[in-house]
């Protein structure tokens, strides 16, 4: 079975989800649950950090599409950070950089919310 897990930490008004391992159709529901929990707690400023993510398929990309509208309607955003070149290339192929702000590091993404 694919190895995937997430951890969530709060930094002031920003919540950071760190992804680790392989994000595919089997593991995507774990990340979906993270978004549902954060939305339930009215935490709409979300940074998703990819530096420990080894792999993503379109099922994983779909999770970002599923919640972004609700989060932006609530004056929040999902910002992405720390992608390896391989993972970025997949996002890029599908045109995601037009829809999401992508930062080199988690810190830069968090700062963007505080600005």
């Amino acid at each position: 079975m694919a190895d995937f897990n997430t951890s969530i930490k709060d930094q002031g008004a920003v919540s950071i989800i760190n992804l680790k391992g392989y994000l595919d159709a089997h593991t995507a529901p774990i990340l979906e649950n993270n978004f549902v929990d954060l939305i339930d707690k009215n935490r709409f400023n979300i940074v998703v950090d990819f530096k420990e993510l080894a792999y993503i398929s379109s099922a994983g990309l779909g999770v970002f599409m599923a919640y972004i509208e609700k989060i932006r309607e609530s004056k929040g955003d999902i910002k992405l950070s720390g992608m390896t070149e391989k993972v970025f290339n997949i996002f890029d192929l599908l045109g995601f950089p037009l829809l999401y702000e992508i930062f080199k590091s988690e810190d830069e993404a968090v700062k963007k919310f505080i600005e």
Binding site: H26, S57, M65, I68
Partner: protein, 145 residues
């Protein structure tokens, strides 16, 4: 020509097994690691589509993954016995439109076509479906000889 075969049930938990199988077959065939990354993503997308659409998440369907390598091509064929599929009915995705409609389907098929050199579907309705993914291999010093 070397062929290898993997039989698994139509469950998403088997996707990592399928990726590992294709990755090691491709490595044995001399495919470079960056090309292997693209191939396993395309195969993952094809199998995810089969599990979700052909078998509608029924967990005990059969999924047969075969790999074959020739001098200049690496070919993966995936057979299932679920609902047949009309690839022409799936439009090219428009991400801006998807964003508005919160739709995500179709991205996998777009990735498959982008990452591979050829994607072919053969369906015998009521019997079996097969999708064949091919990647052209660059000739290295070794296989030129």
């Amino acid at each position: 020509m070397k062929t290898k075969k993997l039989n698994v049930k139509s469950r998403t938990e088997n996707l990592s097994l399928i990726r590992d199988f294709v990755s090691s077959s491709a490595a044995e065939a001399g495919v470079t690691s960056d090309v292997i990354e693209n191939i396993i993503l395309a195969v993952d997308e094809a199998c995810t589509n089969i599990i979700k659409h052909a078998y509608k998440s029924y967990p005990d369907g059969e999924l047969i993954v075969k790999t074959k390598s020739t001098r200049n091509r690496f070919i993966i064929s995936i057979t299932d016995y679920g609902k047949s599929f009309e690839p022409d009915a799936i439009p090219e995705p428009d991400l801006q439109k998807y964003y508005r409609q919160k739709r995500v389907g179709g991205l996998g098929m777009y990735l498959m076509k982008t990452l591979m050199d050829d994607v072919k579907y053969v369906s015998i309705p009521g019997k079996r479906n097969e999708v064949q993914l091919s990647k052209n291999l660059k000739l290295t010093q070794q296989n030129v000889r």
